[in-house]
């Protein structure tokens, strides 16, 4: 506890101390985001990286990942995992498309969200009610949802011709802003406030941080576990509907493999894989980072296999840097 002897003089050691005390590991994702963005902005300037159109494209392509990453932040924060979200999104895209063709938009929205909620609730009930690890439950559910989506459509795409659905769910713009970006902003804001400012958010983190202590403190940890997984399903359903709106059809392949991108985004963002520490804003930047890298690598003219390698290296590197001592 050294206090400077001469006040008013520039205290160099205090500044050095402050710099050392600054926990830069907590901000790795933001620093990395800025660095990668700057590098691409300079090196890919001629390829049109900084054009408004390209930046909005990054936003569009990242939207579904970002939306699911918000809900996944709660799931991982509660020390659970959900591997079924990609398949759930695909299933919701086809059920929504089929319901729109059969009964119209209103029914389509309800069926799409309902599909996600149903899948999530089954996951949540099995994990919370029967204490089966979420890794196993959702791994099984991945197959069930994917297979169901393929089966009920005979593997055929389900076109959505009604643009009153397509526009708000991903194809259209509101003024200059793509509707997908509006969805992302809305979900991120809600997610951030719920995590930081509500008793539900605190209980999720307590459940993930130490389930026994949370239960002993009167937290209904099983209900919390159920809710995080049910809401995850609901949001995955919404993501599936955004795929359907953007691509004017429901298809069982939509969302395939997204679970890995979403989990990577959340962990990149600084949420602890073991639960108890989570950040929604970090997850958003994690998702944007993945979108940014994908976009930049395409503009560089790399082929798909090279993209995969570089993406993998960057993710491992960022997580390693963000690791706590």
């Amino acid at each position: 506890m050294a206090t400077p002897e001469v006040t008013g003089r520039f205290d160099r050691s205090a500044l050095v101390g402050a710099v050392k005390a600054f926990d830069w590991r907590a901000y790795v994702i933001y620093i990395a985001f800025v660095v990668v963005f700057a590098v691409f902005a300079i090196t890919l300037h001629d390829e049109g990286f900084l054009t408004e159109n390209n930046l909005l494209n990054i936003g569009r392509q990242t939207a579904t990942i970002a939306v699911m990453a918000v809900a996944m932040t709660f799931v991982i924060g509660a020390a659970q995992i959900d591997l079924s979200i990609g398949a759930t999104a695909g299933l919701a895209s086809v059920t929504a498309a089929m319901a729109i063709a059969e009964w119209g938009i209103g029914a389509g929205i309800l069926v799409g969200l309902g599909t996600g909620l149903l899948v999530g609730s089954v996951n949540g009930a099995l994990v919370a009610g029967f204490a089966i690890p979420s890794f196993l439950v959702t791994l099984g559910m991945l197959g069930i949802a994917h297979g169901t989506a393929q089966w009920i459509t005979d593997s055929a795409p389900q076109p959505i011709l009604d643009d009153t659905y397509n526009n708000p769910f991903g194809s259209g713009d509101l003024g200059p802003v793509p509707s997908l970006v509006i969805w992302v902003v809305a979900i991120v804001v809600i997610g951030h406030i719920v995590l930081r400012k509500t008793s539900y958010g605190r209980r999720v983190l307590a459940t993930g941080g130490n389930t026994v202590a949370a239960r002993f403190s009167g937290v209904n940890t099983r209900l919390i576990t159920f809710l995080t997984l049910a809401i995850m399903g609901l949001v995955a359903g919404l993501a599936g509907m955004l795929y359907a709106g953007r691509l004017h059809s429901g298809r069982f392949q939509w969302g395939e493999g997204d679970e890995l991108s979403v989990i990577a985004a959340v962990i990149l963002g600084g949420t602890s894989l073991f639960g108890g520490r989570a950040t929604v804003i970090g997850s958003l930047f994690g998702a944007l980072m993945i979108g940014l890298i994908n976009n930049g690598l395409i503009l560089m003219g790399l082929d798909f296999s090279q993209q995969e390698i570089i993406r993998g290296v960057i993710i491992v590197l960022a997580v390693a840097l963000a690791r706590r001592k």
């Binding site: 307590a206 239960r215 002993f216 937290v219 520490r277």
Partner: protein
């Protein structure tokens, strides 16, 4: 060890400390939380390197940089948090990383089992080396730790709070083992907060306070009061002596438990707790003490019987229901059950009262901060900021946060399961005073403690449990000495 100093980020944790250990002696190391005991021992086993000073083993100057260096010089540690792998067998744990290999180069488990059995034979204890550890009681874990150290030819054993998880009979067995080891010329450093045990087993004592050595003396020349004075550095205000209530016990029955059966451990228990009363629960490990309070707090389901709180029969589906009717429980294990160690002091404090502090699901942060600050001051919790993670606090201060957290729920009935375990003697006194103040405000307390002096200091009545039933009920006035209570618990007359 001579003139040992050690600093962490400019805070001097050890300041010019000397420590000598003779061959075949049991040497107590005592001091409050943060006095530097653990740091000193970690230097001795090579976990930390020292800043200043030197130490010698058998007159040879040595310099430990790693745990392996210390091990080769014959220093072994029996860790407080056991360093064992629960899914492996006893023998596999003892010879972990030093497995015997057969002619084929594969691990020869049979040889490890045989050698482990020999070790246990010389220790004169009976443990099956082939059983996986997670099937065995904690006492056997400790024996495995000791066998592991001995298998490395350790001549110095460091035991840090070895009896915390042990019942009295197991402690007695551990002590006789320690004496046998002593006869074989093995020296033991014994770290404990329990004065009774130190006087029972140790030859000499060294007391550290604020990183300095304040006393090294043969225990035969000291009284317990002298040692305690040295540890706390001031006269303890006789917290551990019985005090009459300034407010008499009320007639109102706060908690009435009738013929409670729960699981296989609780087989029909009656219990009454009045306003202003402190009820002690005593019994050996496995007698059902912890299981009884778990059922009362709604953690374990009630099979049959009734729990009546202030005249109203309640059915508790979980701790949240118990909290709602005004029951709070300070659990046995603060790290595993009491706290989310990674979270801040404030978040831990607020966890049980989030519902009360929320409007439409939103937490009132300003009110929460104010409340947390006021409790931190009331209980004199030493910390830099309520935003700091709780794992940075000392054991005693962590326990105070657990207590604050539960007092924050404004309970009528406070259940405490081993509230002073692993807490230094100064904090113990503060906790005892807190319990008294809480009862005198017209509330009821149920306290479990294996430390009988503490139980005697606060309890108006003591229930002695055996095999899930109440074996005996003693009024405070019926017990005149610790020995009597001891005999009642051990069921010898």
């Amino acid at each position: 060890m001579r003139g040992i100093s050690k600093s962490f980020s400019s805070i001097r944790v050890l300041d010019d400390v000397d420590f000598e250990l003779e061959e075949g002696e049991i040497h107590a190391l005592a001091g409050g939380n943060g006095a530097g005991k653990s740091t000193l021992m970690k230097i001795l086993v090579g976990v930390y390197t020292l800043d200043e000073g030197a130490f010698e083993v058998d007159g040879q100057r040595v310099d430990f940089h790693t745990i392996q260096d210390a091990r080769e010089a014959g220093v072994g540690m029996v860790f407080q948090e056991f360093s064992l792998v629960p899914t492996l067998t006893v023998a596999q744990n003892v010879f972990l990383t030093r497995e015997s290999h057969g002619r084929t180069g594969l691990i020869d488990d049979r040889d490890s089992v045989r050698r482990t059995r020999e070790l246990f034979h010389t220790m004169e204890v009976d443990v099956d080396p082939r059983r996986p550890l997670d099937e065995l009681p904690t006492a056997h874990w400790q024996l495995t730790e000791i066998a592991k150290a001995l298998s490395q030819n350790a001549r110095v054993l460091i035991m840090d709070e070895p009896t915390t998880a042990l019942a009295r009979t197991e402690t007695v067995q551990l002590f006789s083992l320690m004496r046998r080891l002593q006869e074989q010329g093995i020296s033991i450093v014994y770290i404990s907060h329990r004065m009774g045990e130190i006087f029972e087993i140790c030859d000499r004592i060294t007391v550290l306070r604020d990183g300095r050595r304040v006393l090294t003396e043969e225990l035969a020349k000291l009284t317990m009061a002298q040692v305690i004075d040295q540890i706390v550095g001031r006269k303890l205000e006789h917290a551990m002596e019985w005090k009459e209530h300034s407010v008499p016990i009320d007639a109102e029955v706060l908690l009435d438990v009738r013929e409670l059966v729960s699981g296989t451990m609780i087989r029909g228990i009656d219990l009454k707790l009045r306003a202003g009363e402190i009820l002690g629960l005593a019994g050996l490990m496995g007698s059902g003490r912890s299981e009884l309070v778990r059922a009362i707090f709604g953690i374990d389901p009630v099979t049959s019987g009734e729990i009546v709180v202030r005249g109203r029969r309640v059915s508790l589906a979980g701790p949240q229901d118990a909290i709602a009717v005004g029951i709070a429980m300070i659990p046995e294990d603060r790290r595993a059950q009491g706290l989310v160690l990674d979270h801040s002091i404030r978040d831990n404090f607020l966890l049980p009262i989030l519902g009360r502090l929320s409007h439409g699901g939103f937490v009132d942060d300003r009110k929460g901060n104010r409340l947390a600050e006021s409790f931190v001051q009331r209980l004199t919790i030493r910390m830099r900021s309520i935003d700091n993670p709780i794992r940075l606090l000392s054991g005693g201060n962590q326990q105070k946060v657990v207590i604050a957290k539960w007092l924050g729920t404004e309970p009528q009935i406070l259940i405490m399961d081993e509230p002073t375990a692993g807490v230094d003697i100064g904090t113990k006194g503060e906790i005892v005073n807190m319990i008294r103040a809480f009862a005198e405000a017209g509330h009821g307390v149920v306290i479990i403690s294996s430390e009988l002096p503490e139980l005697l200091a606060v309890s108006d009545r003591v229930l002695i449990l055996r095999d899930g039933r109440v074996a005996n009920e003693l009024d405070r006035r019926q017990i005149s000495t610790e020995e009597e209570l001891h005999h009642a618990v051990q069921a010898v007359s």
